[in-house]
Symmetry: C2
Subunit: 212 residues, 2 copies
């Protein structure tokens, strides 16, 4: 089945390297699955977009006739296609699943709203205490292991590392343990390829704009 | 395999009916799977607890030798055991998965921190605009369908309805469409049984405290 990652046709400089299609590119690179990338307009998020992603965001993934949004759901969908992303034994699968959801619902649930509030300049905002607690709990886990689940890199690490590497979050954590974990993940060839590909995608959009 | 839902041995009045073991009880009732419930101390969340749930929360689920935390992950684990929770065709499964993650990462990611900030009395806090936008987008989806995925009740509805029913969230949404959706979900026999069972569990703890 043809796998297609959908992202914006263009974004401003700021989010480049952090648009969440990167998570899908990264997973596909890890899995060695072939895929193409297509674009949906950033400026005009019309009914065609909302039909596929009712919150007006990217990415979404098409897999033949199936269209699926939410980067976390896309990752779990891709994980069914390759044991590079998730082990196949029941215990390893359960452990990976729990850390995927922990990344989305125990860490990112605090870190994204904290980041959003911090945009106004106040990193000691109403979520700072909760954020500090969660990062500390995560640090305790990472102190004793290289990867979150099943003693190996999984899709849970891909997701967890992808938002820990957001500069504001990484600075706030100020944790050698967490920094080493992010570096381990982002030093993987699949991450570097995915990251370079996303930058190239948006740079090509700039050039096409200038050319038109 | 023996399924065991772990929750606190006791909680104060406030959260009763909302502790997240309810999600697992509800899913198990929907699926018609037999299970038992065991307790971990609320007051003393020691190393035994943190070994199983590093954020010091409940629930967690044991399934034979497997121990898994995060209610969302437990639900996806249970969904593998019963098509009552998730359809078995690839498209239905992908759609359910995307709405499970949307509930956790597009709705709850805003609503839980918004709720947390509103505890200090200000529901028009820094996340109110984002909260209003997400609830509006969700309302648009629910306006045209009875359930989120695959034209039937799935584990995605269980999760979405479970936090929309939080009184502060429900009041803030002030949406007849969302209210009707919550009522549809909470009118299910499996929800009512799970809810009553949780209340009884904590009431028994009161009685045991008074007796001791």
């Amino acid at each position: 089945m043809a796998l297609t990652v959908w992202t914006y046709d263009w974004v401003p400089e700021g989010p480049r390297g952090f648009v969440r299609d990167l998570r899908l590119r990264w997973a596909l690179q890890e899995a060695g699955l072939s895929y193409s990338v297509r674009s949906t307009p950033f400026d005009d998020r019309g009914s065609e977009h909302l039909k596929r992603q009712p919150f007006g965001q990217v990415p979404f993934l098409t897999d033949g006739d199936i269209s699926i949004f939410e980067s976390g759901a896309c990752l779990l969908h891709l994980a069914k296609k390759s044991d590079k992303l998730m082990p196949r034994d029941a215990a390893g699968e359960a452990e990976t699943l729990q850390w995927v959801i922990a990344a989305l619902n125990s860490i990112e649930m605090v870190s994204v709203p904290w980041w959003f509030l911090s945009l106004s300049g106040d990193r000691e905002n109403g979520l700072a205490g909760w954020m500090r607690m969660r990062l500390g709990q995560l640090e305790n886990v990472l102190r004793t292991r290289e990867w979150l689940a099943a003693s190996r890199f999984t899709v849970a690490d891909l997701l967890m590392a992808d938002f820990l590497r957001v500069p504001k979050v990484r600075d706030f954590a100020a944790s050698p343990v967490i920094n080493a974990y992010i570096d381990r993940a982002c030093d993987r060839e699949a991450f570097r390829k995915a990251f370079a590909d996303q930058l190239a995608h948006f740079q090509a959009a700039d050039e096409s704009k200038r050319g038109s």
